[in-house]
């Protein structure tokens, strides 16, 4: 899928979210919807403007600068220039196909794997409990990254001890036992 198609998809998704907020707002009283409705409407207009401009004007880049627009000029592509973006390198704001030729380094992975990894951790927390999930996830990840067993166990152990010391011991956090533990104890 091209970058422009992806951007259009994201903009449409945002539009749908704002529309959802707007529709839900009409269920509430006048005071409760006084601020949300204008915010949703204005946000929808902004996203709609972004969507229209990026698709109807050739040569207009995807990051629309309204100041440039008001002056009738072309937009300027400010990829990677915003705060919080990984700066200093062009086009590396979360792009999955970053080409870093500076030095040999560990290769990156795919986006779907990254999403799956996060989902796996959440699933492990639910299934095994927080403490077990932390140890197994960290150890397993380091091991799968082709590190030695000892390194993996040390990393897993260090994080486990840190979590236990600060959160469980000091903060008296009540950790969940996990579905498996509860099932086995029935």
């Amino acid at each position: 899928m091209s970058r422009r198609a992806q951007e259009n998809l994201v903009a449409v998704l945002l539009l749908a979210v704002f529309a959802g907020f707007l529709m839900l707002s009409f269920r509430y009283g006048a005071k409760a919807r006084m601020i949300p409705i204008p915010v949703a409407v204005v946000s929808m207009l902004l996203v709609a403007a972004q969507l229209i401009l990026q698709n109807t004007r050739h040569g207009v880049h995807l990051n629309i600068d309204p100041a440039e627009f008001f002056r009738g000029g072309k937009g300027v592509d400010h990829a990677g220039a915003g705060q919080g973006a990984v700066s200093g390198e062009e086009g590396d704001a979360g792009s999955p196909s970053l080409d870093d030729t500076r030095t040999t380094k560990e290769p990156g992975g795919s986006e779907w794997t990254a999403i799956g990894m996060v989902a796996l951790f959440v699933g492990m927390v639910w299934f095994l409990g927080l403490l077990a999930a932390v140890f197994l996830f960290v150890t397993g990840y380091v091991l799968l990254a082709r590190r030695k067993w000892m390194v993996a166990l040390m990393c897993g152990g260090a994080i486990e001890i840190t979590v236990y010391a600060f959160f469980v011991n000091l903060l008296h956090l009540q950790v969940n036992d996990g579905w498996l533990f509860e099932f086995l104890n029935k």
């Binding site: 994201v10 945002l14 409760a32 008001f70 560990e106 986006e111 959440v122 927390v125 927080l130 903060l171």
Partner: protein, 491 residues
Amino acid sequence: MQGLQALLTVQSLVYLTLGVLFGLVVGFLPGLGGIVAMALLLPFISGVEPAAALSLLLGAWVATDYGSSITGILFNVPGAAKSLTAMFDGYPMTRRGEGARALAASCTANLVGGIVGAVCLTVTLPFMRAIMLALGPSEYFMMAVWGLSVLAIFTDGSMLKGFAAAGLGLLVSFVGMDPVTGTARYTLGTMYLIDGVDFTVAVIGLFAISQMMTLYVKGGSILERSATKVTASAWEGVKDVFRHWRLVLQSSVLGLFIGVLPGVGATVGGLAAYAQAMRSSRHPERFGKGAVEGIIAPDATTAANAGGGLVPTLGFGIPGGESMAILMSAFITMGIAPGREMLEKHLDVTFTIVWIIVGASIIVAVIGVATANVIAKVTMIPGNIMIPAVLAICFVGAYAVRGRLIDVAVAAAFGLVGYLLEKYEYSRSTFVIGMVLGLMVERYLHISLTLYGNLFFITRPWTAVLLALVLFTVIWPFVRLRLQRKQGVAA
């Protein structure tokens, strides 16, 4: 001098150091912050001398500011809402090999801001009461709108996307029980959303988890060991603060006055200081790409804010924030009643508190500068060790907020949202700013309309002044661009 004497005992100094060390660690961990640090230390103050007890609590509270800045600068993860601005320029500096410089600039600015704030607080205490009484809900509303208007500066170059992200953040802040009408809004029938989306959980997902996802996809580490040399030492960061002494002074005074306003908070102060630094800079285009002024100004403001926040707490018994509420409960435990007497009969206790803030700032600065070079090297840890470690700590932090498993899933969901926002260049920072200020804007607007009518923004003089400031903040980027274009044509 009596206030200083109470601090200069072995017990008080030991407790102060312990509090600072504890605060640094707590501030560094996601999901925790100043209020958690103080709450954890409350059981340890019973039976202890008041000066030592206050040293422990306030030392931890002051240190969490720098602790949460560390994560913003090194990992692009704000440890707290008030440390949002640390990552705007701190993280780009880290990527350039100037992490130690950024850390040292942050803690030194904290020190200078804390001292300036304490000195100004001492001098202006008699006038603060008058200022507080002059400002009401309509002014607080305008202050919150001012905080939102600063977005116009941050989103320079991607304004449509930036404001869309801010709008999304505002709407997310409205999820849950409306504090004005008691209506459950956008809860989709679930009990979980009755309390709204927890800010800490959302931030952990939006920044920490999404950042680790980005790092996984990109490969390598935050800072490549052999690719980018460390280009600036911690000492450079210290010198930067004194090079920009005017900016530090301006930001400190700004932080002091914003801190006086209960409920406005350090977040607005930090944003305002960042905007002010950008406006007064000769090269505003450097901001957001690793300008050290972008760290110095907000950190000085946040540090001075600490002193300002004491005024409503001590003088009126109105907590200037959540952490101040903990402090007030500590006062009551020690038999000290916050209120008018703190500024009249118990002025020595008030000055002890001021000196404690100064002392804590000094200790934080010494530890910060001494360890900046070492801490900055954390960014060279290989990604396949850092990613699982950070993810694990973040998910535990998300769980620790309310002890609910669903928060882990919500953090993961926000992680995905943050990844997409980052990839398609919708500013996560403006999203979070919208989340922070949304409820504040709504609450004070309703109160202002009820008290002063529909035209309150014109009929109240200070509100009208703040409205003019807001309009100036929104319009100025366009005017500046036009002027630059004219100068470019003329050249």
